[in-house]
Amino acid sequence: MSTEALRPTLAQRLRLMDGRGRAAWVLVLCLAYFAALVATAAMMSESGLTTDFLHKKLAPCLEFPFGTDWLGRDMLVRTVKGLTRSLGIGLLAASVSSVVSAVLGTLSATLGRKTDAVVTTLIDLVMATPHLVLLILVSFACGGGATGVIIAVAVSHWTRLARIIRAEILQLKQAEFVMVSRKLGRSPWWIARKHMLPHIMPQFTIGLILLFPHAILHAAGLTFLGFGLSPHNPSIGILLSESMRHISTGYWWLAILPGLSLLVTVKLFDVLGNSLRVITDPKTSQE
C-alpha cells in the first residue's frame, strides 16, 4: 500500500494515524471477528447443547464462561450458535432486502414518472405503519417460522436504501459527464455500466452493510416476541426470551451475556459499514 521511501515509524507504517488506514485496520479486525465467530460455531460440538442435569444453573466460571442454563446446557455454546443463526437470518434478510431496493430504486429512477410514483407510494406504504407492526403482520401471514422472520425483515427494510439509490441515479442522470457521454452517442447500457455502476456500487455496499444491524436487531426482536424459531434451535432472540423467565429468579447471566454479545456483533457491523464509508469516500482520502 505505502510507497514512502523514508523509513516511517511503526505507527506510520501501519497507517494508524490517518483516517483511511485506521479504517482499514478496523475493517480487518471486524472481519476477523466475524470469521472467528463463524469458525467457532462450526467447530463447537453439539454436546454443549444437550441437557446435563449435573451442571445446571451454574454462574459463569472457568469451565463455563457464560454459565449454564436450567437444563445444564452450556450458554457459551448456545450463545455462539445462536449468534451465528441470528446473523445468518439477518444477513439473508438484509441481502434480499437490498436486492429489492436496488431493483425498485433503479426502476423508479429510470422508467419514468408513473413507475416512480408507484415505487414512491410503495415506499410510503411500507413506512406508513411502524416496522414492528408490519413485521408481525408479515410473519403472521407466513405462519411464523424462520422463513416468516426472513421475509418479514426483507420486505420491511428496503425502503431507505431504495430511496438512496433512486436519488443517486437521478442525480447521476443530470451529471455533466453522463450528459456528455450521451451526447457522444454512448448507449444507455454503456452509460449504466461505465458511469452509473461505479458510483452506485459503493453506496449500495455500504447501504447493505448498514442494513445488517437493523435486520439482525429486528429479526432478534421478532423472535424475542415469539414469532418464529423453535426453542430447540437457539437464536439470540430465543435465548433472550427464555432468559426473561429466569431474570426474576436472579439468573442474570442468561440474559446479560448473550445480549451483550449481540450488542457487540451489531455494533461491529456498524463500525464495519462506517469504516468502509471512510475508505471509499473521496472526501476523506486526504485525511
Binding site: T121, D124, L125, M127, A128, T129, P130, H131, L132, V133, I136, L137, V138, S139, F140, A141, C142, G143, P213, L217, A220, G221, F224, L225, G226, F227, L240, S243, M244, I247, S248, G250, W252, A255, I256, G259, L262, L263, V266, K267, D270
Partner: protein, 331 residues
C-alpha cells in the same frame, strides 16, 4: 401559521385516505395469506360454545365463506361505519380494546417520548458546544452504542438491576397486582412506568442527541454565533442563548417524525415488562391469530404514524421561512 392552509390540510387528508386504504389492502392481503382458517380466526375458541346459528350469523356477517376480495369489501365497509369487529382474545369490540389499550400505552409512550426528547436534546447541545472534547466523545460513543443496543435486552438488564437486584421498581404490569387500572393512584402508575419508559426512550435518545449535535455545531459556526463571540459571550452562553432556539424546533420535528419507531419500540418494551398496552395486544393478536384485532391495530398504527408526520410537517413549515414564504407566494 399560514403554512397550515386549507389546501395543505385537504392534501394531507387525501394522502391519509390513500395511505389508509392501501394499508388496509396490504394488511388484509397479508392476513388472508396466513394458514389460519378465516372462520376460526374470527370466532376462535368461542367456536366450541356458540350455537350453530350464532356461528352462521357471524359467518354471514363477515362473509367468511366467500373469497378473500369479497371479504375485504365487507370488512372495509364496516370499518367505514366504524365497526372493526370483535376481538376474540379480549372478547370485546376491537375499537374498545384499542381505545383502552392505547390509553395505557399513551402513558408509556408519552413519558418515553418526553424523556428521550429532553435527554437527547441536552446531550446533543452539550456535545455540540464542546465539539471534539472528551464530553463530546463520550456522548457520541454512548449514542452510537445505544443505537446498536437491542431495546428489549436493555429492558431485561434494567429489570435485572433495578427490579430484581435492588428491588426498587416493580417487575411487571401497569398497576400493582390486584389493583384495577381505574383504582390505581398516580404514584402507582408512575412507579410502574419508570423502567418501561426508560427502556423505550433508549431508542430515541441516540437519534435526537446525534441530530441535535450536528445542528448545534452548525449553529455555533454560524455568523450570528461568531458575532456573539466577538461581543465577548462565552461558548455556553452562545449555545444556550442563540443555538438552542434554532436547534430546538428541528429536534421536536424529528421527535414527531419518529412516532412510528416509538410505537414499534413500545411493542418490545411492553413485552419485556408485561405492560398491558397496545403493543402487548399487538403481539397477542399476532401470536393467537386474532385477525380483527390485528387489522384494527395496523390501521390505528398507520393513523398514529401519519399524525406524527403531519405534525412534523406543520412544524417544519412554521420553522423554515422558505417554505412559509413559498406557501404565501403560492397564494
Amino acid at each position: 401559521m399560514h403554512a397550515i392552509s386549507l389546501r395543505f390540510c385537504m392534501g394531507k387528508a387525501g394522502r391519509l385516505a390513500l395511505i389508509l386504504s392501501l394499508v388496509s389492502v396490504l394488511a388484509f392481503t397479508l392476513v388472508s395469506l396466513s394458514p389460519v382458517d378465516p372462520v376460526s380466526a374470527y370466532i376462535g375458541i368461542d367456536r366450541m360454545q356458540i350455537s350453530a346459528e350464532q356461528e352462521q350469523r357471524i359467518i354471514d356477517r363477515w362473509g367468511l365463506d366467500r373469497p378473500a376480495p369479497e371479504r375485504f369489501f365487507i370488512w372495509a365497509g364496516s370499518v367505514l361505519r366504524g365497526d372493526l369487529g370483535q376481538s376474540m382474545i379480549f372478547n370485546e369490540p376491537v375499537t374498545t380494546v384499542i381505545g383502552k389499550r392505547f390509553v395505557t400505552s399513551l402513558w408509556l409512550m408519552a413519558s418515553a417520548w418526553l424523556l428521550s426528547g429532553v435527554l437527547g436534546f441536552v446531550l446533543g447541545v452539550v456535545a455540540g458546544t464542546r465539539r471534539n472534547s472528551l464530553t463530546d466523545r463520550i456522548i457520541r460513543i454512548y449514542s452510537y452504542t445505544l443505537a446498536s443496543t437491542p431495546s428489549f435486552w436493555m429492558g431485561l438488564v434494567l429489570l435485572a438491576v433495578f427490579s430484581v437486584a435492588l428491588g426498587w421498581t416493580p417487575i411487571c404490569c401497569a398497576t400493582p397486582p390486584g389493583v384495577s387500572p381505574d383504582d390505581a393512584t398516580l404514584w402507582q402508575r408512575l412507579h410502574h412506568l419508570i423502567l418501561p419508559a426508560a427502556t423505550l426512550s433508549v431508542i430515541g435518545v441516540a437519534q435526537i442527541a446525534l441530530h441535535t449535535r450536528e445542528k448545534t455545531i452548525d449553529a455555533m459556526n454560524s455568523e450570528y454565533a461568531l458575532f456573539a463571540f466577538a461581543q465577548g459571550e462565552s461558548r455556553t452562553g452562545v449555545a444556550w442563548r442563540h443555538a438552542v432556539r434554532n436547534v430546538a424546533l428541528p429536534a421536536v420535528t424529528l421527535q414527531f417524525a419518529s412516532l412510528g419507531e416509538l410505537f414499534g419500540g413500545s411493542v418490545l418494551a411492553e413485552q419485556v415488562f408485561s405492560y398491558p398496552g397496545l403493543g402487548k395486544a399487538t403481539v397477542e393478536a399476532g401470536i393467537r391469530g386474532d385477525v380483527p384485532l390485528l387489522l384494527g391495530i395496523t390501521l390505528f398504527s398507520a393513523v398514529f404514524v401519519f399524525s406524527g408526520n403531519f405534525i412534523a410537517d406543520i412544524l417544519y413549515g412554521v420553522l423554515d421561512p422558505r417554505i412559509r414564504i413559498g406557501a404565501e407566494e403560492a397564494k
